[in-house]
Structure formats: C-alpha cells, structure tokens
C-alpha cells in the first residue's frame, strides 16, 4: 500500500505551457542517479489566476536500501520541476526532503472498537490516506488481519470473527499503525472507528479531538513531523 503526497506549482509568470515534476527516492544519506531512472509526471492544470497546477504522487511506504540489504521506511525524496515556457524549457533547483514516519496507537479501554484506521493527509485534506490499524496480538498472517478487510468477500463473517478474536484479548486493545510525510511538514489526522459486530450494534464514525464528525474538516489532530 502507498501514501499520497500532493505537489503543487503556482505559475509566477505568463506563458507557461506545461510543468513536469521529476522525482526519485533514495535511502537516507544517498543521492539519486538520474541517468539510472526516475519518475516523471505532468502536473494537472487547475486554472485560476495565478494558475495552479497539482499532481498527487503515489509514494512508497518503504524503499530498498541496496547498500545495507534491507528495506527502509524512512528515506529521501528528491524532486525538481521542469517548466515549459515561451517555447523554451527550464528546471528549478533540486529539492530534497526527508520522508519520515510517525506511529500512532489508539487505546480502546472498553472493547467497543472492532475496526479502526488512521485517516490522514499531508498538509490538508487534498489527498487523504487510510492506514488500517491492528492490535499487535492479532497474528500478522491472520485471515482477519485488518489489511485483508477490504478485499474479504464475506464481510459479515469477517466482522464476526474479528469481534471474537478481539473479545478474547484483555483490555485495553491497543491498535497501532503508521503514517508518513516530509520532515518539517504537517499531517492532519482523524481515526475512522467502527463497531461492526454484533449487527444490532453496528456503528461507525470519524473521530477527531472534538469527538465524532464527518471525514476531513477542522476536527482533526495536526502532527508536525
């Protein structure tokens, strides 16, 4: 699974025909070899004055560190913009950001929660991300692991079985998951919590510091990375 990182551009001058973003990820402390390969995307033109452009980039939750032979969830994100203007082309400076993660834990002291996700986004709610949370005492290879929920065909069975698994665990239930973003940036965050079993008690909501609410909006925690 991925997380999403919106990258925007505001035209500072007339005559800009297209803007591309070139980007690559490397392990910490390393630099990209642009000749070896990188990704390039065209920013979508949203119009306005000044004209705004945006591309939501799909980012990895880890990258492979060839020097050390292991995956790393924290890495560097290198990018520059290529601007086509007045029949010519120029590039911005190269920017490099450290991508870091933040682990969250949600302690359910009553046992009400059967399904929970972190709902978060970088900066504002332009590109929200779901990160399913799991109780670490649930085996990672369980058929009823949170990450398997969405593609599980028989949701009623999943709800029943997951409820029973959680019911057998001492309270509190501590659900954990991870979110990513650029160091120095901010994340807005809510929880999407639900009680999906028993059927007569089904209920779910998005939860912010001011209590239940709709997804997104101002009722959210803000994390500075």
């Amino acid at each position: 699974m991925s997380w999403y990182y919106p990258k925007g551009w505001t035209d500072q001058d007339d005559g800009i025909e297209q803007v591309l973003i070139h980007y690559a990820c490397t392990p910490p402390g390393q630099w990209p070899d642009w000749s070896w390969g990188h990704d390039t995307r065209v920013l979508q033109d949203f119009g306005g004055f000044p004209r705004r452009r945006l591309k939501v980039l799909r980012m990895p939750r880890e990258i492979w560190d060839m020097e050390n032979g292991w995956p790393t969830p924290e890495y560097r994100f290198h990018y520059y913009f290529e601007v086509y203007q007045h029949g010519d082309r120029w590039t911005t400076d190269l920017f490099t950001e450290d991508i870091v993660y933040r682990d969250l834990e949600y302690a359910d002291t009553s046992g009400w929660v059967t399904n929970i996700c972190i709902y978060y986004a970088v900066g504002d709610w332009t590109a929200p991300v779901y990160s399913p949370m799991e109780e670490p005492r649930i085996p990672a290879d369980s058929e009823f692991a949170a990450t398997r929920y969405y593609s599980y065909q028989d949701k009623d069975r999943f709800h029943h079985e997951k409820y029973q698994m959680l019911y057998g665990l001492d309270l509190p239930h501590r659900f954990i998951s991870r979110m990513w973003g650029p160091r120095g940036g901010t994340l807005v965050q809510q929880y999407h919590i639900g009680r999906m079993y028993p059927p007569e008690e089904k209920s779910e909501t998005w939860l912010g510091p001011n209590g239940p609410s709709a997804p997104g909006g101002d009722n959210c925690w803000v994390h500075h990375l």
């Binding site: 699974m1 999403y4 297209q18 995307r41 082309r89 593609s151 999407h192 709709a214």
Partner: protein, 204 residues
Amino acid sequence: MFGLRKSFVDPEPGIAMVQIHYTWSPRGEPPDWAGGDEMVLAPQGGPLRTAVLDVPRTVEGAPEFALHHFFFVVSAQGRTSSPVFTEDIVAREVTYEDTAGAYTSVGIVWSAVEPAPDLGVPNYTSTAMDGLSFESPGTAPDDGSIYEFVRAQPLPHVFRGMVWGVRGTRISYGYHLISNGQPDPAANTETWDDNGGAGWTLQL
C-alpha cells in the same frame, strides 16, 4: 506510470466516503489484493467523486495487462463493496511524420477523454524516431547533441510513441515539437501542437 481517472457517482445522498481499491496483473490472471493499493475519491461537486490512479506502463514487461478495481462505500446505511471490475489496459502507437526535418524530438501529451475537459489527466510520452533509438518514456529528452544524428536520417522523419488506456475508451493527444541542438542556439524551438485546441483522438 500514467494517470488514469476513475469516477464514482453517489447513488443516493448520505455517502460519507468512497475508496477505490486497485491492482494489476498480467492479462488473464486474477488480482492479488495483497499487493493492491487504495485511494479515497475526492468529491467533485454534486454526486461525482473521482481519483487519479497511478497505473504502470508495463506489467512483467508487457504493455498490455489487466487493471482490477472495486469501490468500498461507507454510508449511513453501512458499508458496501462493489463487484470487482477488470479492464484491459491496452497500448497504441501514435506517430508524427516530420516531412521537413524540422524537429529533433517529439513528445506526446495525452489523456483519456473525460466528460469534462478539466477532468483530463495529462500524461507524457517521449517518442523514438525511426532510425534512432533514443527514448525516455514519460519525459522529454535533455538538451543534447542529437541534432546531427537526426539530420543524418532520410526524410520524412517518423516519430513513434505509445499511449495507454482502457480498451474501448478514447485518448486525446497532442504533440510537443522540439528542435534543439541547432548550430545557432537561438534557433532552438519548442512548440505545442494540439490541433487548435481540439487535440487528436484515437479509439483504444
């Protein structure tokens, strides 16, 4: 990768959130959802929600493959998942014939034809010229000294590049016409030809 917009129309009021889950596989193989991804669809005003998926240009080396997706909908009535939709992603070649030898490189800017122009998702393909092998998908070539290589090829110069999309849909495209590496740098040019704003279209 290329961007492909997917849309969902709320069938009733009160829908709080819609996710799209997606993955790809070689044609004829079932989806492996363990390697799948998800996005939250953004409301576009009214009942329309959309998301732009990042879709690879090749899967296991093949430019044509299967894209699978389903929607997960949270509403006041509960949670529902749509059936899984499997679509053929197909690739088609677009050519540009330069009869005068005016250009050293040609790019293709392309997008699936959407109901509204502002829903178009621009993608870029750098073409390869017949007789030359320079190609860098997704980006225009660097300023380079290919001018002499291009001039050495007989006219007309034919540039070829690929566009991708869902079988049965239409692609709109235009050309990025580049002439660089000229003896007089002031003679270098880059222009965009989108057929007077209408673009050209092809059926996949």
